[in-house]
Each structure stands twice: as C-alpha cells, then as structure tokens.
C-alpha cells in the first residue's frame, strides 16, 4: 500500500465521539482548520430510521454498533504477577466505535459529580483519620474548582437539552431535586422525563426511609429542544430501545443530534471514517507533535501533519495511543514513577430485583435514562469514615429497557425446560429493579500498560489492564446491600433476588457493569502524578490534548459523560483563548 502525506491542518482530532465532536466544533467555530479521523464507520440518521433500531437481537445481543474485540480487545489480569488474558468477547464493558462513538448509543444519564467528588483527596484528608483507609489508595483532586468548571457543565447541558429537576440553584435548595448537588448557576434546561410505575414506587419507598430521590438527569430530552449550535432534538417517545441502541426518534443527545449537523456545515471542518490512527509522531526533541499516522480505508499508510493533536478516542485507547507514541513516561507500579497508565479505575454495580404478581410494569415503555435516584450515599453525605471505607453510590430505579431477552426471573426458576418457559410467561413484565452505581477508587497497583504477548491485527501490543476489586470497594458493596435491602422490604414484593459482590470477589469480565472505564492519563496539578494538566494538555508534549474519561483520577458515582463534556469544553476554551496566542504549556508546574 502507498504512503501518503496530507496537507497540514491546524488541528487533527483522533476519534469522533463526544469529546472529538465537541473539540472539533469549538475549534472550527474559532476559525481553525480541523480534520477528524474516526477509526470506525460512518453512522448517520437514515441508518437508524424507525423501525431499524427496534431490534434487541442485533443491537443488544450482537452489539451491532460497538467496536469488536477482534479489533480492539484489551487484556486483563488481577495482579502484577499474573499473565493477562484477552477480552475475546465483551462482558463487563463494551467500547463504542464509529461516528458518535459510545455517545450515539449511551443510556444518556447526564449528571454532574458533587463538589466533594471533584475534591476527593481534600475531603479524605479532612474527614478520615490516618490509617482508616488502605495505604495503597491513590485518590487525587481534580485540578479545578467547582466555580471554574460549573459554566462548562452548564454549557454541555445546554448542548444536550438536559432534562431534570433542579435541586440547588445558586445555593438555594429546591424541593424535588437533589439537595446534595453542587450549586447550579441556572436551572435544568428542560423538565424531567415522566416517571414509570417502578420509579414512583421506588421514590415513595426511598422518601419514607428518609432519602432524597430525584429524577435521573437525562439527555433523552423531555421536550423539543434547539441547542446553542442550532441543532434540534425531538421529545423522547419512551421507545424502550435506548442503552446500546441508536435513537430512532432523534431524541437522545448524541454527537449526531447535538453537534454533527452543525459541524458538517462548517467549511473548515472535514472528517474521514475508517481511518485508524496508530501513532502520534513527535519532533526530535520530543516536546511537540508533528502529526499522526493512520491507515485509511484502503490500507494506505497516511501521515497527517497538524499543529495541534487531539486524542479523543475512548479512554482505554487514548492511553494506549499515548503509550504507543511515547507521550509521557509510562507508569511503573513498583517505583510509582511515570504517569501514563496510573490511576485506572472502573466501577461496580448490583442491586435487587423485585417481583410482583399483580403489577404490570410495562418496562418496555421507557427512556434509557428514565429513573429516580438519590445521592444520600455519596462521599461526604453519610458516615463513610465511621464505616471505614471511601466511596458511595447512586441508588436508583433505572430500568433502561424491558426487552424480553434481558428479562429477570425469580430465584429458583430453572434456566431451561418447562420451568423456564412457564416462568418467563408468568413473570415477564412483573419485576422492577433497585440498582447501585458505585464509586471506584484508584490504587498503586491498579494500572494500564502495554501487553507483552497479545497484539492487534497490525502487530501492535494490546493494552493491558491490571485490575481487581479492593477491600474498600467490597466493603462499600456490603453497606449498599443493607440500604437496598431495606428499600426492597418497604416495597414488599412477592419475591426478590439480590446481587452484590461478596467480600473476596474477583472482577468478573463476563457480566456487564457499564463502560465507565476511567483514568490512565489523568489530569492534575503535578506532572509527577498526572499525565495532563487541567486543560487536558500533555505536560510533556504541549500540542497534544487528551480529552476523555482517561482524565479522571478515580471514578465517582455520577455517570461520566457530563464531566467529559465539561472538561473538553474547558480545554477547548483554553486552546482558543490562550494556546493559539502563545503555544506552549498552559500551566507552569
């Protein structure tokens, strides 16, 4: 195949999901020539016209719009002494691909972390006596204040048409919203989605037990919305095909609905699909990048020179690309030197399934984000220090779909045979869930590096994940089990089953948790412990910016997308206002 060199552009954006599309439109609107390269294919709305996405088998079982393990597997091991094995099929997490990335088929819960979450190390130092927490824990503060980041949360929420109920407006606590949320400068752009039966039941039970439930903040919009880029998003029709599906109703904020239509109209923006970036090429001094090498759809090796390189692939692949390109020093878990790969974190889930003979939940009538949740059990809002662990969870009644292959059956129902068939007929549509979405802290020996054995189809090493549950996370699970159990008892079901991690549990890569993998190239104030500064700029290679979940130094209980949008928009602003005038490090360490 030929080797091709393209004309230099101002900005090359590698990965066209939320982070890549936001960075592209913000920099293109500022007049820069922006070119985006997307590893996957084109994904546009005619592909998702009704009824095509209403296909559980194709989208939920066969993962029709996801990256495949064959293309982008990672390897996993529990500790540094083991040989890691590849994720031959997706299980615990499943990365997206193509234009829109995971933002095209996400569940669309658009929620902020709390002010405590973004200053977690400060909270730990104030609230926990030395010796209470494990000594291998490595949590950090995000390198910005609530006041600095809040306008960017709001900007992204306007882009998405965030629907919800305000709980804290400039310090005033409002009934029906989350009393633990950080002060909002403005109310939610749109009212909350409608509640389904299970949500009303959960909300009443949680209130009775003294908790403060509020509607899941949603990017499935409750009303027609025109966003600041001029894109229009239609009101959600509760189709029931949301998480893992592209929206058939133009109702879920995604790069497609919220950004791409306006972006594609800008003459100084272009993009190429099936363009697999394999390396960022650095100048000889290693202090700046020249551009990127990618393979195009015909297999040609292409060099795309650029003044600014944005890595906006999924978290895992941003970290891998930095390691493959020599951007930042790889992390060494023995000496704790190096920064690329450190502070990897995942999250855990679990909960209770409650069965009611006399209730029809019609759970196929739902938006992905439909649900009620409470934040009473997140760091700083309950006695974590007294219980001896750091962390918390959203406790919620989300039930993103009611499609039948995912149907829950009561404990004791056979998995096959007549008992299975009769159980399915009897119990389908008669259950609801109470779920947890937890924090996950970062640790000295939980990290990402390049695998020494397994490679991709080009012979490049796969990313290796060293990860297992720590005692801190399992203690949190035990605490949550009690809380969820009490709410379940209050609801008095005919039967119920509980699913929580026992102490000593190993990470199970076969059961889906969520694709909220974070860290590995984190943002911070100190170049010795972070790969990026607060503007997502590499400390080492100043014209490389790396927006994404990779920047989180640990995982909070809130879903990550609101924060990924906010930090990306803050970085874009810094590039426009500061970097273009004076290219160089934006933060002096």
């Amino acid at each position: 195949m030929a080797q091709i060199t393209k004309k230099e552009v101002d900005v090359v954006v590698c990965g066209l999901g939320w982070a890549g599309s936001l960075m592209s439109i913000e920099l293109a609107l500022a007049g820069l020539e922006v070119r985006a390269l997307e590893r996957g294919g084109e994904r546009d709305y005619p592909d998702f016209a009704y009824p095509k996405p209403a296909d559980e088998y194709a989208y939920n079982v066969r993962n029709k719009v996801f990256a495949t393990p064959k293309e982008v597997a990672v390897t996993v091991r529990y500790n540094m002494d083991q040989t890691a094995l590849p994720t031959r099929k997706w299980g615990a997490f499943a990365p997206g691909t193509g234009v829109g990335g995971a933002g095209m088929h996400w569940t669309a819960v658009l929620i902020r972390p709390t002010p405590t979450d973004i200053k977690l190390k400060t909270y730990v130092d104030q609230a926990y006596k030395p010796g209470i927490l494990q000594d291998d824990m490595r949590v950090m503060d995000f390198p910005f204040s609530w006041e600095e980041i809040e306008p960017y949360f709001y900007k992204f929420e306007l882009i998405c048409g965030q629907s919800g109920t305000t709980g804290n407006l400039r310090g005033q606590i409002l009934e029906g919203g989350d009393p633990f949320e950080g002060p909002r400068s403005e109310p939610y752009p749109l009212p909350a989605l409608d509640d389904t039966l299970n949500n009303v039941m959960f909300k009443e039970a949680a209130k009775k037990l003294g908790y403060h439930p509020f509607p899941n903040p949603s990017a499935c919009v409750s009303r027609a919305w025109k966003n600041p880029y001029g894109n229009q998003i239609a009101p959600c029709n509760y189709c029931g095909y949301c998480s893992k599906y592209p929206c058939l109703n133009y109702s879920k904020a995604s790069p497609q609905t919220a950004v791409m239509d306006a972006l594609k109209r800008l003459p100084n923006f272009s993009y190429e699909v099936n363009a697999e970036v394999v390396k960022v090429v650095l100048h000889e001094d290693g202090k700046t990048a020249k551009g990127v090498i990618y393979y195009d759809v015909d297999g040609n090796e292409v060099f795309q020179p650029a003044k600014i390189v944005v890595l906006s692939s999924f978290q895992l692949y941003n970290v891998r690309l930095m390691l493959l390109s020599g951007i930042g020093k790889p992390y060494n878990p023995i000496t704790e030197e190096g920064v690329v790969g450190r502070n990897y974190a995942f999250l855990s889930n679990g909960g209770a399934t409650l069965f009611f003979k006399d209730k029809n939940f019609n759970s196929y009538a739902t938006a992905g984000a439909t649900g009620q949740m409470f934040n009473d059990i997140s760091p700083g809002n309950f006695d974590g220090p007294g219980l001896g662990f750091l962390g918390g969870a959203k406790i919620h009644s989300s039930q993103a779909t009611g499609t039948p292959m995912a149907a829950a059956l009561p404990k004791g129902t056979p998995a096959w045979g007549m008992g299975y068939k009769e159980g399915l007929e009897q119990w389908y549509n008669h259950s609801m869930k109470i779920s947890i979405t937890t924090t996950c802290q970062s640790y000295r020996d939980i990290y990402l590096d390049l695998d020494p054995h397994y490679t991709d189809h080009r012979g490049n090493p796969l990313l290796r994940m060293t990860f297992n549950w720590k005692e801190n996370e399992l203690k949190l699970q035990q605490h949550l089990k009690g809380i969820v159990g009490d709410i379940a008892k209050e609801l008095n079901p005919d039967s119920m089953s509980m699913s929580f991690l026992p102490m000593g549990a190993d990470f199970d890569i076969t059961k889906y948790v969520s694709t909220h993998n974070v860290g590995g190239a984190v943002m911070g104030d100190n170049p010795k412990t972070s790969a990026l500064n607060k503007y997502l700029q590499s400390w080492d290679v100043h014209n490389v910016f790396v927006p994404g979940g990779n920047a989180f130094p640990q995982n909070f209980q809130a879903n990550p997308t609101d924060t990924i949008g906010a930090i990306t928009l803050m970085a874009a602003q810094a590039i426009k206002e500061q970097y273009l005038k004076n290219p160089g490090p934006l933060v002096q360490a």
Binding site: T68, K70, L85, K89, V200, N360, W416, K421, L424, D508
Partner: protein
C-alpha cells in the same frame, strides 16, 4: 442475515397478503398474525444450511427440551417457533462469531470470571460438541442423542450443563468444556425464541404474544404514565407483521 428460504408460490401469495392493510386481510378471513405465521417455513420442510443431517437431528431434539411445547401456559415451544432454523441461519452468517478475538495463546483453564478463552468459533464449538455428545450417548445408551427418551435427553442435557460425568476432555477434546457448549446452545435457543421473526425463529411472534411484549412498536408517549394497566396492543415485527 435474514431468513433464507426458497421462493414458492405459497410464499408469494402470503407476501401479497402481508402487503395488504389489516382491514383487507380481515375481509379475506385471515389475520395479519396468521398470515405472518403461514409465511414462515415449516420446520419439517426446512433444509439446514449450516448443520449436517445428524447435527440437525441433535439440534431439533435439544432445543425441544430446552424450550419444550405444552405446559400450563400458552407459550409455544422451540420447535413450534422455528428456533432450530434461527440457529442454523445464524451459524451460517459470516459475522456470527467474527467479532471474537481469537489470537493465541489460549489458557483454557482460566477461571470463569476471565470469560471466553476457548480456541473455537461458535461454529467450531457446535460441530465439536455435537459429535462428542452423540459419541457419549452411543457409548452409554447405544443411541444418538435424538433417539433417547425425553427423560434421558433431559438427564444428558443436565450432565452437559453441569460438566457432570460427561467430560469432553476424556472424549479427546481438552479445549472445550461441555458446560461452555451448553451456555452457547441455551443462549442461542433463547435468542431464537425471542428475537424478531425476520431472523427465522419466533414464528408468528408467538413467543412475544405469550409473554406480552409488543415487539417493535417503540412509541409509548401516551403509555408511560398509565401505571399498572396492561398494554392492550399485540406485537408488531420489524417487517411489519402485526398480531
């Protein structure tokens, strides 16, 4: 890949019927659901495109026990809903299993929490496992699996499910556990039972009708606030069948 079947005059006529509005169908004395069911092939007439004749006998017999006909409710069995056709069609589809990362080395003794570590595509798994199960039943019962009594079939399936006394390694295949094949077969059977009929199973949407799933209706603005009211409409399929 969608269901492949030879075009017949019957299918042509039914296709024409399906294209009519429901009101016209009713005038002709046939419901859209009946027309849809008639349009699907008869299992007995179907010629498998992936499975050999003896493998097909195994699949018919096994899926019939995994989701049997009869029972106390109205839900049909796997054979009444063409589940074997679904599995045959899926295994024939080039994309089926093509997503799996199959580069070695393989640690087939890895803990179950490490997921799929089998050096086989699903197609290879079916071929290998069916041969071994039939081999084991020949040795034990002097019959192929499909020739066993109902009770014997259930007992063998239970052994396969639990790796109990039916050891693939002892039969010469150390890289595959019987339970791993069972998981694949059971998942594919349930998928065929509950997937949209265009994939070949769930004939006449009968599994959806039995459990009360409305299929591809996918529009519930008026229904989301109607709490604890059974949804009154039957399912629709991706190709426009209604019941």
């Amino acid at each position: 890949m969608l269901l492949e079947k030879p075009t017949t005059r019957r299918k042509f006529l039914l296709g024409a019927l399906l294209a009519l509005p429901v009101s016209d169908l009713l005038l002709k004395g046939v419901t859209a659901a009946q027309a849809a069911e008639m349009a699907a092939p008869e299992l007995a007439d179907y010629k498998p495109i992936f499975f050999s004749a003896s493998e097909w006998q195994f699949i018919l017999a096994a899926t019939d026990r995994l989701i049997p006909a009869g029972g106390s409710g109205k839900a049909p069995g796997a054979l009444e809903t063409n589940v074997p056709i679904f599995i045959d069609q899926q295994l024939h589809t080039p994309e089926f299993g093509a997503e799996i990362y199959l580069q070695g080395p393989f640690d087939v003794h890895a803990p179950a929490t490490m997921g799929y570590q089998i050096p086989f595509t699903p197609q290879q798994m079916y071929r290998t496992a069916i041969k071994l199960v039939d081999q084991w039943t020949q040795t034990t019962y002097q019959k192929a699996f499909h020739e066993l009594s109902t009770e014997e079939k259930d007992a063998v399936l239970t052994r396969i499910n639990k790796n109990d006394g039916l050891d693939f390694a002892a039969l010469g295949e150390p890289a595959l556990k019987a339970s791993q094949f069972f998981s694949q077969l059971l998942a594919d059977t349930k998928h065929g039972y509950l997937a949209d009929p265009m994939y070949g199973g769930n004939k006449g949407m009968k599994a959806w009708i039995a459990i009360g799933f409305p299929g591809a209706r996918a529009s519930f603005t008026e229904w989301v606030k109607q709490h604890n009211v059974p949804y009154p409409l039957g399912p629709v399929s991706l190709l426009g069948q209604r019941a």
